[in-house]
Subunit: 325 residues, 2 copies
Amino acid sequence: MEFTFLGTSAGTPTRARNVTALALAPSGPRPWYLVDCGEGTQHQLLRAHYSVMQLRAIFITHIHGDHTFGLPGLLTSASMLGRTEPLDLIAPVQTHRFVTSTLENSDSSLSYPVNFIDSEAADFRWQDEHFAVTNVALSHRVPCRAYVFTEQNLERQLRQDRLTEDGIEPGPSWGELQKGRDVTLADGRLLRSDDYTEIPRVARRLIVAGDNDDPTLLAEASAGSHALIHEATYTQDVSERVGPWPQHSSAEQVARFAQQAQLPNLVLTHFSSRYQSGPGGAPHINQLAAEALRHYRGELFLARDFDSYRLEKDLTLRCLTTDNP
Amino acid sequence: MEFTFLGTSAGTPTRARNVTALALAPSGPRPWYLVDCGEGTQHQLLRAHYSVMQLRAIFITHIHGDHTFGLPGLLTSASMLGRTEPLDLIAPVQTHRFVTSTLENSDSSLSYPVNFIDSEAADFRWQDEHFAVTNVALSHRVPCRAYVFTEQNLERQLRQDRLTEDGIEPGPSWGELQKGRDVTLADGRLLRSDDYTEIPRVARRLIVAGDNDDPTLLAEASAGSHALIHEATYTQDVSERVGPWPQHSSAEQVARFAQQAQLPNLVLTHFSSRYQSGPGGAPHINQLAAEALRHYRGELFLARDFDSYRLEKDLTLRCLTTDNP
């Protein structure tokens, strides 16, 4: 399970950070999934190893422009490349309207179908062969969701002891059982895959949250999750100075929650453009890390554009970008 | 009169070229004017010396996404920066609708008024103290315009011979006359600025054209213009292979027209992403220059992102980017 940040800035882009987008892949670049699509996401993709031709679904957390304004360009560029595969667009109804009216008002049409799926539906659930996806309502100025990605179809291991015990000879039926399929033998016996195989590890689960001023809303989803990607727009003192209106979280707030929820891995993102990485008068981005580390003892990461991560089968999270401290 | 290319690619961005946008300034970065606003224009501005705070007006040539999808992000970012100055948006009505519905569907509002002005109006004319702007209908898949920018309020020179002849003593009245203002003397005489000053040079005039498959539509506007910025999406052979549908010009077509119209300066832009500048298998961008040079004997330039040009008072056009051959 790998993901790459295509944008990590809140509200407006900076020279080093684009507005929000995240590429997620079960393994390798095809298929892959996009969570949020700020302006310039298609430009970021030109520098990443994900192609819009292999994109299976887009999940939008909420309607704000820094999470959605890249959609029309990305969709029409895929069309100019000749995409024919259908694409799922999981988003609030207003984002569907934004896309539809933008295509209309720009004389654009798409060479492939877009399936609009309402992310705010009460019974929202999406899945394919790689991921089962649910979502959780967050607290922001507009309805906003966190998406919970749970790995599907984990590789099974044959329980050879039991197969031998029941006198089932090695052969094609073993292969079928390992693929999770039930088998009827020539003698009429029905073998259930679940009886003769086991899944030797836990399904990996990742939460990708949208804008949110109350991380505790993720308490239930966090139980059994192995990594949380959450906004930390400000440090606590700036957050208090700015006041409650923006409805964002501070690094401290998220860190306290992740500690309490015993989340083993936390990646902070969606930083206010006031924080910079270089030398100079602007507050340094590391202030956010320092603040979070005072409240969280798990593995902490600060997202940067184009950093890639892998959530390993042993549930450790590894940043694949070598220069990330 | 200076301009900087913020995007020079047709349809989709490449790693080296963004989709169309051009910054134009009478002198220095304030105020300035934007012609077209493809996705990522606000990102390009982070690397140029123009700020959205000093932007006076946006001119959109036509409704296609590669010329308009950057509008919502640029407008909302200016709002987040606290802009209060009104902004003129000169564009087709559908682009006004695109902007309005996008703001609505993304819970966005602007901290400043946008004046929507219909670029397709029969009597279109816009002006401020720096530029008088008219437009010309082009030929494309949708209504499309070229904008003609004519310098306004040229500096006047006093005709000292005539002032002396008429016994007008040096003093504040000379200054007023030079500013173009008529003056009434203490003795009751009315002095008309036009009688005692002259404008010692021609007003500079620049045409910035949108997508167009018939450059000859610019014949009338080209008389008295000093530079033309025009698309050259393909070479002639590719243009013939692609067929008439895209309704773009070849380098040859534009060059032939510019030669016939005796335009002294021609800048080609809006290149198909098939043309590249680096080594490799892709057709080289210089093919477009080579083709144009076979038919045009004026000053020819191929636009690149971030290249800046100055149309001097002596009507020469100079690329200010030192590494441009």
